[in-house]
Amino acid sequence: MFTEDVLNQSSSLRKKWEDEVKKVVAKSADQKPEWTTVSDLPIKRIYGPEDIKDMDFEKDIAYPGQYPYLRGNQPTGYRGKYWTFRMFSGMGSAAETNERWHYLLKTGQTGLSTAFDFPTLMGYDSDSPKAKGECGKCGVAIDTIDDFQTLVKGIPLDKITTSMTINPPATAIWAMYLASAEIQGVPINKVGGTIQNDMLKEFIAQKTLMCPPDASVKLISDTVEFGTKFVPRWNTISISGYHIREAGATAVQELAFTLRDGMEYVEDVIRRKGLDVDEFAPRLSFFFNAHIDFFEEIAKMRAARRIWAKAMKERYKAKDPRSLWMRFHTQTAGCSLTAQQPYNNVIRTAVEALAGVLGGTQSLHTNSLDEVLCLPSDHAVQIALRTQQIIAEETGVANTIDPLAGSYFIEALTNEMEEKAWEYIHKIDDMGGMVKAIENGFPQLEISDASYRYQKQIDAGEKIMIGINKYITDEEVEIPLIEIDDSVETEQIARLHEVKRKRDNRHVTECLKDLAQACKKGENVMPFCIEAVKAYSTVQEICDVYREVYGEYRDPGIY
């Protein structure tokens, strides 16, 4: 990277600077002996040319749109198009959520993102005993395609892309989306969007569980195959580090586990479906957390792009440049927010969002200030959305691509994150891959250790959260809280029963039997799912088929 001359100069100037530092520190010591990132990575007082002298400009940095895509996938950066302002939303009934969506589109949001309630996320209907007290609480309740059509009413599915945070029942919910599009008269090869559909991170972190790992990965490969053939504009998987981080992982763990999950899916699709890597890899998408440690997050996202490009090229022999691109969505860190002095959350979210943008995200959700307390109010959502709009259109940070490239610190930190991530990735390779590592409890235990360590550091005041362990105030702040009324549950159950009463139950049974057959024969379940949802089968009825055929997975509870 540098000539001998520059390095020599730097070395002698650095020596002078170091002497100066020693003198000053001898007189008055630093505020604390060690300076680390929020993930406990030690950071040096200063970085210089020697920290990145071994980098090769062409091989390691280059320009946007050029391998290894460190600086971004697109040659034009945000000048062609800002990131998608995609606010996660969903609550109560399908009708209420639909209303919120129309409001969001009116305020300038450019993509939709759906939060489902816990029964839907777990593949239970609203009338299941397990669902009691949960219906509509943290997202929208969907039982049948009847609810789904209400959800997307008046939304042009050929124009608006929709992201759906759904995992175990992803096949059923995606089937509902595709069937609804058909009913709207939109052919499925014209619809675009994303289903999260990443089960490995559920086993690792979020614990939305249904079937065992191998069967879960099989269902995911089914959607990848179906999407590749029939729904080319759809991202059938969003390989997620967000939840891994929220569960207490470090930035390096988030990076490593997420990318290794991605590799596991690639390997499975190739092995199980016989697809060529370039046929499906361009539609793989990722989802990262933007936590509070500004530079660490930027370095993480830059490293992610470079690792993915290398892995796709070298491990899986991808040739299409689009296969090498890591496209990702970012959400600011829910776990960095505090219930105490909640207005401070606006500032945290702004800093995190800025990191996401400087890291080159393709789409962004900014958390609302009240999300640690309840579902966000309209007003809080608006501030969060405005945060993105201010970053995009006022601050000027979108003027130039990857503005931090070439910074000694950023490049060194990016390299360090990449190096440490590969160490984890190789360790997991040695265990026989991510499914095996999960069975061994490896990632779970690593995260559990990290989160306990962090909590101890917070309690000891070694890491700071304003309002929690420093600058604590007693003032009461009134935050208007949104609450989901219990009537949502009763009404939803009534609607479900009405649908069940009206539908052709014999036809439902046949569809479910066909689906079970397909599972047993190892066929792609998607066509059968679509038929089943059109017949008004419920989410739980479809998931029960999976549970029956593949068995139900229970969390081994590693901690």
């Binding site: 816990f118 029964p119 777990m122 979020q206 640690v372 309840c374 579902l375 989160s451 909590q455 901690y559």
Partner: protein
């Protein structure tokens, strides 16, 4: 010589799988010298009450982040009472809005901890308020 240990059940009722807090608390109670049984995620109130009784714990710590605490927490208290185990203290934590606090105390919860509560304060509460078969 009698050796009375405090036994704690840490449980996650409901469907949310966000078990970071529950796991941290389980470890913290272990380090405080308690015997800790953790049920894992996705437990029904019935499963939790039954585990509490079979394990003869002194206190049940519930964690819920999904907003379903209003139903789930009181239900655990009720089931324990119905099975002659009303003396087992039930405490809760998670995203609990202020206005839900009083109804939960009224329903029999003995303490509620919200995000940001230091681990020491939980241990201190247990040590002050829980006396095994005193």
């Amino acid at each position: 010589m009698p050796d009375k240990k405090i036994r704690v059940l840490v449980a996650k009722p409901g469907l949310d799988g966000h078990d970071r807090g529950a796991k941290v608390i389980a470890r913290c109670f272990r380090d405080a010298g308690f015997e800790v049984i953790y049920t894992g995620c996705h437990q029904t109130p019935e499963q939790i009450a039954s585990a509490a009784i079979q394990e003869d714990v002194d206190v049940v710590g519930l964690s819920c982040l999904s907003g379903a605490h209003k139903y789930l927490f009181p239900q655990v208290v009720k089931l324990l009472q119905e099975q002659g185990a009303g003396d087992i203290a039930v405490i809760g934590g998670g995203i609990i809005p202020d206005k839900d606090m009083q109804p939960l105390y009224d329903a029999g919860l003995k303490a509620i901890f919200t995000p940001g509560a230091p681990l020491d304060s939980l241990v201190a509460w247990v040590n002050e308020n829980i006396h095994p078969r005193a």
